[in-house]
């Protein structure tokens, strides 16, 4: 289970996060993402997966106490001021949230929001913003990027909004993209499109990805490697194929078993996590 | 930060209530006996805050004045809540056009100044504390209708009300069992904000001579009386002014603090 001392893109060591005087919600977590690698974090509500993402982005509220080390491209992020962090955020790393409506400003056109994200970090290229924006909107699968660029968020569907958010996250060609349940709020048919688009642009940009989800099948589609979190700790890690086919930890085995509805005879009793773990919720 | 505001507010409100309670059992001097001391004394001893133009101890009058302020606040807010809350729930329930008509009427009433209403009532029934309270209470009804309706609308759209309807729960039971408990915090916030406004309105009406009669100690009337001597004896206006400001600030801070404290959305995140 010990992570190698890699010259990787993201290196998280012994990350512990606690809020106020409460017990830590993330405990001694190690993560490694190599350049271009896609790591899935699987966990349920309360497992600490979202807090981990926010800790890496430096977006935790003031009452959070973060210890351990988070290195991005060798640079230590824990302890950086918000100003220093904001230079990294959106440039070297970016984030895609679950709810595309709240991630977009309702008073600004989609194109302008992508352009803002671009200008913030590439101010010298301000003149080229429009063409970069249109190119990025094309890359996330819009046939008519110009029309989308001039639309306001409320004029777009949920799936279109999430693709705009994806364009915002990738317009600066970040090295790491953190996705927190990016398709959970979407319809299944829309989810399929957004996942395909995400897969393509991550490849095109060559970005590494930390993909957080409760949905094992979705993670299997996008990620080569997987970490399973339970109550703030990583209980299983390995390649996606290995974890999904031969899970070692009982909790991971339970999660895999409940997720494989396709292997069951309809109408039969479903396997539960509790079958594998005593005292699971 | 917000927690601190709530505590400051509670401290101020407690102080006002304590003043009112103390005044029932003890005041340094008689708060109504005209000419019991020298007139227009500056703060000192034995009159810690001085005496007014009738020679009455100002500190004693401030203590007793807290009673009128709270009395007016309680009755006015009571009238407004007792009428406004049921109407607000009803408005949330009415079909579109009915609610529309009711809310437009509420808007008109909201725009009608409390002061004008008080002058009207005073002209008909004579100026008294009771007239002022009723006028302020009536003028505050629209605020309660609005806030209750807004809260009730979201409760009525909730899944637990849908489940209650599917369980065959009749409308009055839904109102009492589901709507009222879940808008109570909004009403509480509105009540403390309205309380502050009622105290201010009572002071204004008494200042204009439309509220509490001259014999009864009232902060507003004290302020009005002090106006005549403003240049010679400025502290005369200072004490009732401070008392009004403290009470109004206190209730407003409590209202704001409660709003944040009780907001379930803000709490859920923590």
């Amino acid at each position: 289970m010990s992570a190698p001392a890699s010259n990787g893109l993201l290196q998280v060591r012994d990350l512990t996060v606690a809020f106020g005087r409460h017990a830590p919600v993330v405990r001694g977590l190690d993560l490694d993402v190599a350049p271009g690698q896609r790591l899935g974090i699987i966990g349920e509500s309360g497992s600490g997966k979202t807090v981990t993402a926010l800790a890496i982005m430096g977006l935790l509220p003031d009452n959070a106490r973060v210890t351990g080390s988070i290195r991005l491209d060798g640079q230590e992020l824990v302890g950086l001021s918000d100003r220093q962090l904001s230079r990294v955020r959106g440039d070297t790393m970016s984030m895609i949230f679950q709810e595309p409506m709240t991630a977009l400003d309702p008073t600004m056109t989609a194109g302008r929001q992508v352009a803002e994200a671009f200008r913030l970090h590439r101010d010298r290229d301000a003149g080229r913003a429009r063409s970069a924006v249109l190119e990025m909107l094309g890359a996330v699968g819009f046939d008519d990027p110009a029309r989308i660029a001039d639309s306001y968020p409320h004029q777009l569907s949920g799936g279109q909004r999430q693709r705009v958010v994806t364009a915002m996250a990738l317009v600066n060609r970040p090295e790491l993209v953190i996705c927190d349940e990016p398709t959970t709020a979407l319809d299944v048919t829309v989810q399929a499109t957004v996942l395909r688009v995400l897969d393509e642009v991550l490849d095109a940009v060559g970005a590494g990805c930390l993909f957080i989800s409760h949905d094992l099948a979705v993670v299997s589609q996008l990620c080569s490697d997987v970490v399973v979190m339970l109550d703030g700790e990583a209980v299983e890690r390995g390649t996606a194929d290995r974890v999904f086919n031969e899970p070692q930890h009982p909790y991971a085995a339970g999660l895999v078993a409940t997720a494989r509805l396709d292997l069951l005879e309809p109408g039969t009793r479903l396997p539960t996590v509790a079958d594998h773990v005593r005292g699971a919720r | 930060m917000k927690r601190a505001e709530l505590w400051v507010g509670l401290a101020l409100v407690t102080a006002v209530v304590a003043m009112a309670l103390v005044s029932f059992v003890w005041t340094p001097f008689d708060a109504t006996a005209v000419g019991s001391g020298p007139r227009l004394q500056s703060p000192g001893l034995p009159h810690v805050l001085g005496t007014d133009h009738m020679g009455i101890d100002i500190f004693s009058r401030i203590l007793v004045g807290a009673r009128s302020a709270l009395y007016v606040g309680i009755i006015a807010v009571g009238i407004a809540a007792l009428v406004g809350v049921p109407l607000g729930i009803l408005a949330a329930w009415l079909p579109r056009w009915g609610a529309e008509a009711m809310m437009r009427a509420t808007d008109v009433a909201y725009a009608f100044p409390a002061l004008l209403l008080a002058i009207l009532l005073a002209a008909v029934f004579g100026a008294s504390t009771e007239t002022a309270m009723v006028a302020i209470g009536i003028a505050t009804i629209p605020a309660f209708i609005r806030v209750t309706r807004a809260g009730a609308l979201s409760v009525l759209a909730s899944d637990y009300v849908l489940a209650a309807r599917a369980a065959g729960t009749p409308a009055p039971a839904i109102a009492v069992r589901h709507v009222l408990p879940n808008v109570a915090h909004l009403i509480g916030v509105q009540a403390s904000v309205s309380f502050a406004m009622a105290i201010l309105a009572e002071a204004a009406l008494s200042y204009l001579g439309l509220g509490t009669p001259p014999t009864v100690p009232s902060w507003g009337r004290m302020l009005g009386d002090a106006q005549t001597y403003l240049f010679g004896h400025p502290t005369q206006a200072l004490w009732p002014g401070l008392a009004i400001a403290a009470a109004v600030l206190g209730f407003n801070l409590v209202g704001d603090g409660l709003r944040d404290f009780l907001d379930p959305k803000l709490r859920e995140v923590a």
Partner: protein, 260 residues
């Protein structure tokens, strides 16, 4: 005679000048004891349909019959038989349970309804509450506690207990496991399927998740934009979808991808 007969049901929502056709000429029958899946994405009209079937909303046109009696557009006071027989389990137990009521009162709510009491013989409410809490696997002392003291899965059990309290014939589950964590989802589904079996209930199972519907329901209807585009045995919908939308829906189910 079918248990539910839905004929040419249409529901138009008018907000200001905008008119939204939520349900467009839908006809459907549900047999006693059937487990029917209603599949669709957001905006498909599936929630509107079941609200109309439970007479919690009035149709713009068309009729709903339950047990041979018209229930659409009927005044609430005449709906006792429907309220006693048809119960709902909604998606998110965080919003379907009144946070300021104790679990005992929540579960007893259908028993306190004057409408339902006219239909059902008088029961000892406390005993019945204990009975249904036990049936969903919650300890008896749950009755004195508040919803926020329970986990998501337990809260959905409370909602199921409330639905069972008046001994209904039909259970309508509206995305009843969608808001739950995966590890809890299987447990709640097992519970639902077990109860439906043991009590001989008719189940209307509304979901966006075709994989779950296939597991729970032998038959299903697929809805899109207010219409039923296809219906039939769930296995057949999977293996040989006739309507292109059904085919898209089946194809969109995220499958486990193997890289080796």
């Amino acid at each position: 005679m079918s248990l539910f007969e839905v004929e040419h049901l249409t529901r138009v929502y008018a907000t200001g000048r905008r008119r939204v056709l939520a349900l467009d000429d839908v006809s459907l029958t549900v047999e006693r004891g059937q487990r029917l899946g209603i599949v669709g994405e957001s905006g498909s009209g599936k929630s509107t349909l079941i609200r109309l079937m439970a007479s919690l909303d009035k149709p713009t046109s068309g009729t709903v019959r339950f047990d041979g009696r018209v229930v659409s557009g009927v005044p609430e006071r005449d709906l006792g038989f429907l309220r006693a027989s048809v119960q709902l389990v909604l998606q998110d137990p965080r919003s379907s349970l009144n946070p300021r009521m104790r679990v005992g009162s929540i579960v007893a709510e259908p028993l306190r309804s004057p409408l339902i009491r006219r239909e059902r013989r008088q029961v000892d409410q406390r005993a019945r509450v204990r009975e249904v809490l036990d049936a969903v696997g919650l300890p008896a002392d749950s009755a004195d506690r508040y919803p926020h003291e329970f986990s998501g899965g337990q809260r959905q059990r409370i909602a199921i207990a409330r639905a069972l309290a008046p001994s209904p014939e039909v259970l309508i589950a509206d995305e009843a496991v969608s808001a739950l964590d995966v590890s809890v989802r299987a447990q709640v589904l097992n519970l639902l399927m077990g109860l439906v079996d043991d009590l001989g209930l008719t189940l209307l199972f509304v979901s966006h998740d075709l994989a779950v519907v296939r597991h729970v329901c032998p038959d299903a209807v697929v809805m899109q934009a207010g219409r039923i585009v296809e219906s039939g045995p769930t296995q057949r919908l999977f293996s040989a979808p006739e309507h292109p939308y059904t085919a898209r829906l089946v194809a969109a189910i995220p499958a486990f991808r193997s890289r080796s």
